[in-house]
Amino acid sequence: MPSAEIDRRQLLRLSAGGAAAMPFLASAGASALASQAPPLDPRLPAGVATEALLEALPGKAPLIKLAYRPPNYEAPLSVFKDTITPNDQFFVRYHLSDIPNVNAATWRLAVGGEGASTPFELGFEDLKMKYEPVELVAVCQCSGNRRGLAEPHVAGVQWAVGAMGNARWKGARLKDILDKAGLKSEAIEIAFDGADGPALDTTPDFVKSLPVWKALDPDTIVAYEMNGEPLPHFNGFPARLIAPGWTATYWMKHLTRIEARTKPLDNFWMKTAYRVPARLFPSTQRFVSQESPATTPITEIMVNSLITSPIGAEVKVGEMLTIEGIAWDAGFGIAAVEISQDGGKSWTSAELGPELGRYSFRSWQFSLGRPAKGNLEVLAKATNAIGQSQPMKALPNPAGYHHNAVARLAITVA
């Protein structure tokens, strides 16, 4: 038995008054573990299984805990049966562990930088009252969602499929805020800082930038509501950036500072992290001021899909079976989802559900009728409005970003 566990128990005996404490610990520990083991994808590194638990952060429903500190919790597959992800089941992702509780009454957002001629500060009421509110549904997906399924495995938070969510966001257009700050023509990037910071100040603070063109997109907003409620603390209260169509690394939480820059932001999180090999992915949206010959910053989400039902791999013979799922992309729109039952040789269109907006999850379903007894494998592949679709295998890259291989589900009909 590992020694830390022994230390812990010995200590307990010493500190909690002897053997009487032992049964309590044993039973509490055992039941907690039994009820907390989440369903895990067998393709994940084996080490994930020793650490992952279903655990609720304050104000959240139980999610799959990958790391306690900083909190990194993903949504179980069952969450995606709803096209809109409930706030309490929305995934949680932080790089840095010094995370303050922000008080909306005293919160200030500083807007300025060399590229702004009239810097100013605003409070929470200003954000809500002084700007035209806009609402849109958009997928927030971690760049490294499904990293844990990468072949070969790469280091990082070992996410399965749940480091994403889809919500209706309400907020002020970033463009309107930047207009008030008098954006200069020399401004090339807009940088964002949040209230969270590193545990040790030798670690680079998490600050990210967007190219000006994306910052001025009328769909880029500073959101103060998520699904009609204030943002949960762990999803960025009181306000976070929504950069629809782009991966969540740009969606700065607990916003405190917006900086118009005349020079490219030069920090670890821009220059080293969140980069993909140049031309590996069929991205069309560029971040030119941050590109280098070998790598580019990750930008828009790649077209993707997920099978959400059935979840169990066993179904009863003679019963009608409908495959359900979701598909999404960077906002070009989902044109089709196709299903294959022969390993990808032939494909048949699934039926698309209602459209909630171009950046949203789109539900889909496909009836398999009453499948015959035996094993089958169902593949799902989404295609977007500009003709991009999912590769059969994820494209390997050093940090395991943009995992968008066709969705697969093995089913036993018995």
């Binding site: 590992p2 200590l11 590194p45 084996a46 994930v48 790391a67 303050p100 800082d193 209230a195 680079p204």
Partner: protein, 113 residues
């Protein structure tokens, strides 16, 4: 520039709870037994072996040690060397050479492929 930034800094100096936590864990004095069945990072157990203490003392300052365990067992010795170097060079982990060597040897032996 903004009050938030200076507050962030101020807070940083006062909340080295993580570091404190690592030290307490290493010294074996951290123990929370409550009626709650909530698991927490004190439940994380690393395999026994030479170098384990160096990991506990050095690698829990900025994040919980589940970061180490979930990233196993697919890194080889060079992979773990690279991770330890990244922690020092990119994230500013204050770890001396001797500890760094001991840590990556331990990780490769116990959490390597």
């Amino acid at each position: 520039m903004s009050p938030q930034l200076s507050r962030k800094k101020a807070r940083r100096t006062s909340t080295h709870s993580a570091l404190l936590f690592a030290i307490m864990l290493a010294a074996g004095v951290l123990l929370q037994v409550t009626a709650s069945s909530h698991a927490d990072e004190t439940d994380i157990v690393l395999k026994d072996g030479k170098g384990r203490d160096a990991v506990v003392n050095n690698c829990g300052a900025c994040h919980s040690l589940d970061y180490v365990k979930m990233n196993s067992p697919f890194l080889d010795k060079a992979g773990w060397d690279g991770e330890v170097t990244k922690m020092i060079k990119a994230y500013g982990a204050p770890i001396d050479d001797a500890d760094a060597k001991e840590i990556s040897a331990y990780l490769a032996a116990n959490y390597g492929k």
